[in-house]
């Protein structure tokens, strides 16, 4: 079963009087449990596509279904709910709420979901242990390294048991060693929990880790390669 279905997705940005085509009719199906990278140069439209799949941005045309939900017809609040329960995000930077500790950052999503405090606490500590942050629960983001911060971000993204985690350039601000560690951890989570991971990246290492590599160029799918 495909967890993401994109059909003829188009997106135009207007900058003053100039129209910039970010996506020009993307067709893409992503299978459940995948570990997929959207690659391409900057300006290719990969981040836009990721945002549209995550319901952060609207497409101008085309249909997108995520986990069986036709998201191009949803309003802001419905999208917020979809993101809350079905999608986790990891960004390039500024991922975490600076005033909350690692543990609290992870708990925060479950707070929004309405999970009870005790369950929140046990699930958050378990997932932080899983991503290799045991003993650092009470550090604030400023007291963690870049790699550790991204691990907290991943922990936060998957703690709510989403079907998809969308990661936008998660390794861009990391040195290669931390980046590799992070990716290994994410692959482990993918295999262990069956969560679909979709990356947008131009980092070679991410592309190497991905099991399927989709090249986006000029707003279109240029190449779709399944490795095995």
């Amino acid at each position: 079963m495909n967890i993401v279905e994109c059909r003829d997705v188009r997106k135009i940005y207007r900058q003053g009087k100039v129209e910039v085509y970010a996506l020009r009719g993307v067709d893409l199906s992503i299978e459940e449990g995948g570990f997929l990278a959207l690659a391409g140069p900057s300006g290719s439209g990969k981040t836009t596509l990721l945002n549209i799949i995550g319901g952060l941005d609207y497409a101008d045309a085309g249909s997108i279904s995520v986990n069986g939900n036709q998201i191009d017809r949803m309003n802001q609040t419905e999208l917020a709910n979809l993101r809350l329960h079905n999608i986790g995000f990891v960004f390039q930077a500024y991922n975490l709420i600076p005033v909350l500790s690692a543990l609290e950052n992870v708990e925060f999503v479950m707070l929004l979901q309405g999970v009870s405090p005790t369950e929140r606490r046990s699930r958050a500590t378990a997932i932080l242990d899983d991503v290799g942050l045991d003993g650092l629960y009470h550090r604030r983001p400023a007291e963690l390294s870049g790699g550790q911060q991204q691990r907290v971000a991943v922990a936060r993204a998957i703690v709510s048991n989403p079907s998809i985690v969308l990661a936008d350039e998660p390794t861009a601000n990391l040195d290669s060693k931390s980046g590799e560690g992070l990716l290994e951890m994410m692959r482990e989570m993918n295999e262990k929990k069956g969560v679909t991971f979709i990356f947008s990246t131009h980092d070679k290492m991410v592309m190497d880790f991905a099991r399927r590599l989709v090249q986006i160029r000029d707003g279109l799918v240029a190449e779709d390669q399944v490795k095995e």
């Binding site: 952060l56 609040t77 917020a80 993101r83 909350l100 707070l111 929004l112």
Partner: protein
């Protein structure tokens, strides 16, 4: 402590200098308002109490129309009937009766037009402060007849002193000439020029004799246990009077009817003060608006992440309002505490407005004034600050509602 409260609290202290300045602005405004309103309410109380005690009492029974014209023939013909009604009203502290007449009063070499007031010495002492205002000589005794209490300024003008004789000449209730000779027994001073310059008190019984009053009086003056009882007393009294007085010849008036000038000047003072406070608080509001705005705009990216995580815009807005409300409340609570402490200090020690004593005494205010802390003065002041600052906080928070996650995250 829940994560939300922690988040709000820590966000407030992310930029302590800024938050402290904002809180200080709110503290300043609240303190000022609590103090000023306590001050105003305190002086209103003093003004009302002085005026009530010196002049009108809380409630009066008069002939209909007497208040405006003060004609000698507009009388309460049977004061005893009114007394019987008064005896059944438990809220009443004391009451007395008075009769008034405009007369010429002459000393050996001076003549002035004055208000001659006939009083029941014993009852009067329980209702008004006249007895305490005696500066020289003595208050009227039970069996006095042709004795008088003269205002200090009038005594000066008349060049009369204790023991001197005064000739009074006026018109009796029946239109006849009323004349008599009174001996000055005491000299009083209230500080209020018109009262001290224009009035003479004499025993009621003798007044009634001289002015052919035939047992009638002009005012039945009632003092309630407190200002709050006035309405009840007035109501009960009115009901009682209607039974004996079926053709509405008598009117029951409270101190507000009797001193409309005082009531209106208090209103005017309060309203103009409230306008000034509102303007002040609006200045404060713009002063702190930047803090609220900055606290939100510099965190736009963070809000982007929160939105991406699935926080609904409404929930985000609530977080921010919660944050602003907390700052506001800290300021207001501190303002109330410090404002109350300052007010309380002056409530105990009083404040002297140097050089204004002569001016203040005209309104029955002493030179040393005491603000009066009350639930009302605290809540009105704090309330104005709360409403205006909350409106200020609401504006930036509402802006967040329109925030789109992608735009927020790419914001500078």
């Amino acid at each position: 402590m829940s994560i939300e409260i922690k988040m709000v609290w820590r966000n407030i202290w992310r930029n302590p200098r800024r938050s402290i300045l904002t809180i200080l602005a709110i503290v300043f405004a609240t303190m000022l308002l609590v103090f000023m309103l306590s001050w105003q309410f305190g002086s209103y109380d003093t003004m009302i109490n002085t005026a009530v005690k010196v002049h009108t009492g809380h409630v009066q029974v008069q002939a209909e129309g007497y208040r405006d014209r003060m004609d000698i023939w507009l009388v309460v013909p049977d004061p005893d009937a009114v007394s019987r009604i008064l005896g059944d009203i438990p809220e009443i502290e004391a009451y007395t009766v008075r009769a008034n007449a405009f007369t010429l009063v002459s000393s050996e070499d001076r003549t002035y037009g004055v208000l001659l007031i006939g009083i029941d010495p014993e009852k009067e002492a329980k209702v008004s402060t006249l007895q305490k205002l005696i500066r020289r000589g003595e208050y009227l005794g039970e069996n006095d007849s042709n004795t008088a209490l003269v205002g200090e300024l009038l005594a000066e003008n008349l060049k009369a002193d204790i023991g001197d004789e005064l000739v009074i000449l006026g018109q009796g209730r029946d239109g006849s000439v009323a004349a008599s000779v009174l001996t000055v027994k005491g000299i009083f001073s209230s500080g209020e020029d018109t009262f001290d310059r224009r009035s003479i008190h004499m025993p009621l019984e003798y007044f009634q004799e001289v002015f052919s009053m035939r047992g009638a009086v002009h005012e039945v003056v009632v003092l309630g246990r407190s200002l709050d009882d006035v309405e009840t007393i007035k109501e009960k009294l009115e009901r009682g009077i209607r039974i004996v007085d079926d053709h509405k010849a008598m009117a029951v008036l409270d101190w507000m009817d009797l001193m409309p000038g005082l009531v209106q000047s208090i209103k005017m003072d309060l309203v103009s003060a409230l306008i000034m406070y509102a303007i002040l608080i609006i200045v404060v509001a713009f002063s702190i608006l930047n803090t609220f705005l900055m606290a939100i705009f510099e965190r736009t990216r963070e809000f982007g992440v929160l939105l991406a995580m699935g926080t609904t815009p409404g929930r985000l807005m609530r977080f921010l309002i919660f944050e602003s409300v907390t700052i506001t409340l800290i300021g207001i609570i501190m303002g109330i505490i410090f404002g109350s402490l300052v007010t309380w200090y002056f409530q105990v020690h009083g404040i002297v407005i140097s050089g204004a004593s002569e001016f203040l005494s005209q309104y029955g205010l002493p030179e040393r004034m005491y603000p009066k802390l009350s639930i009302l003065s605290i809540s009105v002041g704090a309330g104005i600050v709360l409403v205006i600052t909350l409106l200020t906080a609401l504006y930036p928070a509402l802006k967040v509602r329109r925030l789109k996650p992608v735009e927020a995250m790419t914001a500078a």
